[in-house]
Amino acid sequence: MNDRSQHDAQAIDLSIEFCGVKAPNPFWLASAPPTNSEYQIRRAFEAGWGGAVWKTINQEPIVNVSSRYGAIDYDGRKIVGLNNIELITDRTLEVNLREIANVKRDFPGHALFVSLMVESKREVWHDIVKQTEDAGADGLELNFGCPHGMSERGMGAAVGQVPEYTQMIVEWVKEVARTPVIVKLTPNITDVRATGRAAKQGGADAISLINTINSVMGVDLDTLCPKPEVGGLGSHGGYCGPAVKPIALHMVSQIASDPEIRLPISGIGGIQTWQDATEHMLLGAGSVQVCTAVMHYGFRIVEEMISGMSNWMRKQGYHSPAEFVGASTDRIRTWNELDLNHKVVAEIDEDKCINCGLCYIACEDGCHQSINIEQVPEKEFLKAHKDGVDRTFLSGTQRYVHGAGEGYVNRFTINQETCVGCNMCSLICPVADCITMIQIDNGKAPMNYQQYQEGLAAGTISKIEPPQHA
């Protein structure tokens, strides 16, 4: 075992190798507006990004509309979700290829993949693959996910939503490709494993996911126009940003745990922080791709991501990302495999409680009616509270108590007899570590649903009784 000082000084190497391509770290930029040009990718690599996927190129530049982005804010916090109706590159193939070559020449140690999307013709795909590889790209990413605009022209998600098309085009690409081919999957499909398996069948070297989610961002309540709005009309666009992370994590874990796929994964979706990136990687991503957070804050955020992940690795005793990629994949199971006898209940630390009552009303109206509310006279509350002095202040000749009113303070306690351990109160509580979920030793051996059913059938166990208190 390292002692603490050695542990702290432990060198962290964030470098990775992703299907044969090396990068100084797993933080890559997703194919998106921030990777539109040489200028931007230079700035990104100089800021510390380990790789980038060049914004999707095509034989011909497309035309875009104005405006293009829509966002949702949440109670004062900007952009918890973003969407766009922007299409692929609006620059010529010649310019893109020249700039790709320039970047690769100056940053040979960084991973530079190029996103491709062309019409579904074998020769056209062959052409663009060859041209892109000739420009020096480390690898290719096939954009089978773009949900808007291009899909109406038979590209993007129109391909990614049909496993047979996915397989066919991957096969065409693999006929000529000399570099690794990543297939980028759309989440706008019932089961993402279907296209994942098709990509594998077609010969893909890796999978990236998720692309953006079909979305309408909202309606302007003054003009009744959808958001974002183009001349009074709108169109469904691709949704991304912090709000989509849980959807992305689910799909990453589905691909990672599918025995028929077994391909490297580049995780995309809702990554703003080092924690988000680490979670993607624990569920199976070998690299991660970021867009919205950079669009919001700029390339500079990678410094915090590198710092955060390095310090977490030090704390956990990891030396390289390869040591933890996929470490949590196997922990996601079917519901039927979960232990029905595992029991947790909530516990409120009264010294930390600020008496806001949010846990109480959430439990009472939305959950399982297991929090007690008791009006404690102000004086009694202060006497019982170890931080009573901090809860009072004097003004003039009067004394006031924070959290009190009409002479009382609400005291909240958990009824652990009836608490089902749903977590809700602990999720709501605004005070760190005030409500914790504690495990109850009920003396029962683990039993999953299948074992329960078997036990019932065999008559070896009795039925679990429904909650009585509701």
Partner: protein, 445 residues
């Protein structure tokens, strides 16, 4: 003739009297509103004497429903705009806010309340309308916050209301008793105007005596007594009648009723008292251009009844404090004030109950050309004692049923400062007006 202070220019005076708490800009309001946790059985609601649903009005600000927000406020407190400006929020809603514990900083409820009320004001929304006529009539004596609130609620219920007010302006101390740097006169009057749109028969400059009450009770189905309090208590020391001796409420009132350039002000001012009115008078005096303002108080800093935030404002404004100083005599020269003779005191005992003991041979003089008395208002004893069978408490205030505002005399209700246990603030007066109106309405229907 006494030297008078060099008067600041009107521009400077207006700057001096600019509001201490400016309005929130909409981005500020949104950010502040986002801090509210939306507590259940929220302490702030309980701490508000009028029980405004604060979490709800703040959530409405967050969600761009400013008119809905204002209505939530005004439903509970028709003086919501004034209270937003003048309430001692530190010791009411904001004092109770749980963010004091979590972040050591409460949500700025008062300023958010103002933000919502101002939005409704700007939109010129009339939320309330007179109810269908019941044919009943109520007389209200005194058009302060208690009387006006009662009138408003009775008009909503459809009862006819006649208000009799001795002053030439309505709004009582909410209009003339609160220093103008806390709330401009125009705002207080605009809030009165909004209430008067409920078709209230207001008769200004219409003083009535206690003896007139019997007639009013005969003429109307009920009478609501909201006469407030009277003059500041006299010092009972020589020199009180000298030129240059002022009474605190009248002094503050002038900043509303007289042009700021015409308000009399000394060069060296001494305010006598330790309550919030003393602080208001001192703050007003320094803003009017006095070179020095001293508060002389017979007890010490810790026993001063003024709120901490008011005291701090006075310190920030440059007011000096002369603790443990009991006035003995106002010294005059040619009929005008030239100084305040005090004796040093010491406190025998603890807290507010400590006895004030004069220290022998400790006389000293604070030179001054203006003395403001701020000892607290006296009850309108002459008025109340002229009403036969009206039950008063030991201090001479009207005893009422806290649930209905009913007095010991049938059909006579009371609220505001003249009533026992009324509390000192505008918000307390409003609540007694609400209770009285509900009590009267219940009796009449």
């Amino acid at each position: 003739m006494a030297k008078t202070a060099t008067k600041p220019s009107l521009k400077k005076l207006k700057q001096n009297f600019a509001e201490v708490h400016p309005p929130l800009a909409s981005d500020e309001a949104r950010a502040e509103a986002a801090r509210c946790l939306y507590c259940f059985d929220a302490p702030c609601i309980r701490a508000c004497p009028t029980h405004i649903d604060i979490p709800s009005f703040i959530r409405k600000i967050s969600h761009d429903d400013l008119l809905g927000s204002a209505k939530t406020i005004l439903d509970a407190n028709i003086f919501g705009g004034s209270c937003a400006r003048v309430c001692p929020t530190d010791v009411l809603c904001e004092g109770a806010c749980v963010d004091n514990t979590l972040l050591k900083d409460p949500v700025q409820i008062g300023r958010l309340q103002r933000f919502a009320c101002d939005a409704a004001e700007a939109a010129e929304v009339q939320f309330y309308h007179p109810g269908q006529s019941t044919g009943r009539s109520v007389a209200i004596i005194g058009a302060g916050p208690a009387g006006l609130t009662c009138a408003h609620d009775l008009r909503k219920a459809g009862h006819r209301v006649t208000m009799l007010e001795a002053r030439s302006v309505a709004g009582g101390l909410n209009t003339v008793g609160i220093a103008a740097y806390k709330m401009p006169t125009e705002y207080a009057l605009s809030e009165v105007d909004r209430i008067l749109r409920m078709e209230i028969d207001l008769r200004l400059k219409h003083p009535v005596g206690g003896s007139a009450l019997a007639g009013l009770l005969e003429e109307h189905d009920a009478v609501f007594l909201a006469i407030g309090l009277g003059q500041t208590a006299p010092l009972g020391i020589p020199g009180e009648n000298l030129k240059g001796v002022h009474e605190s409420l009248e002094f503050i009132s002038q900043t509303h009723t007289v042009a700021l350039t015409k308000c009399p002000i000394g060069r060296q001012v001494v305010v006598i008292g330790g309550g919030n009115t003393a602080i208001d008078a001192a703050n007003a005096a320094i803003r009017l251009g006095a070179e020095s303002v001293t508060i002389a108080y017979r007890r010490d800093e810790a026993s001063m009844p003024a709120f901490t935030h008011e005291y701090e404002l006075a310190l920030d404004s440059g007011v000096r404090f002369e603790w443990l100083s009991k006035p003995k005599r106002i010294i005059g020269k040619a009929g005008e004030v030239s100084g305040l003779r005090c004796i040093r005191t010491r406190l025998d005992g603890k807290g507010r109950k400590a006895k004030v003991v004069a220290v022998g041979k400790s006389d000293f003089t604070i030179p001054c050309d203006m003395v403001i008395k701020a000892l607290g208002q006296e009850v309108l004893h002459d008025f109340l004692s002229a009403i036969p069978k009206l039950k008063l408490d030991k201090k001479g205030r009207v005893v009422v049923d806290p649930e209905t505002g009913a007095t010991s005399i049938p059909k006579l209700f009371a609220g505001g400062d003249c009533q026992k246990d009324a509390g000192e603030e505008v918000v307390n007066a409003v609540q007694t007006g609400k209770i009285g109106a509900a009590g009267i309405n219940k009796m009449l229907t």
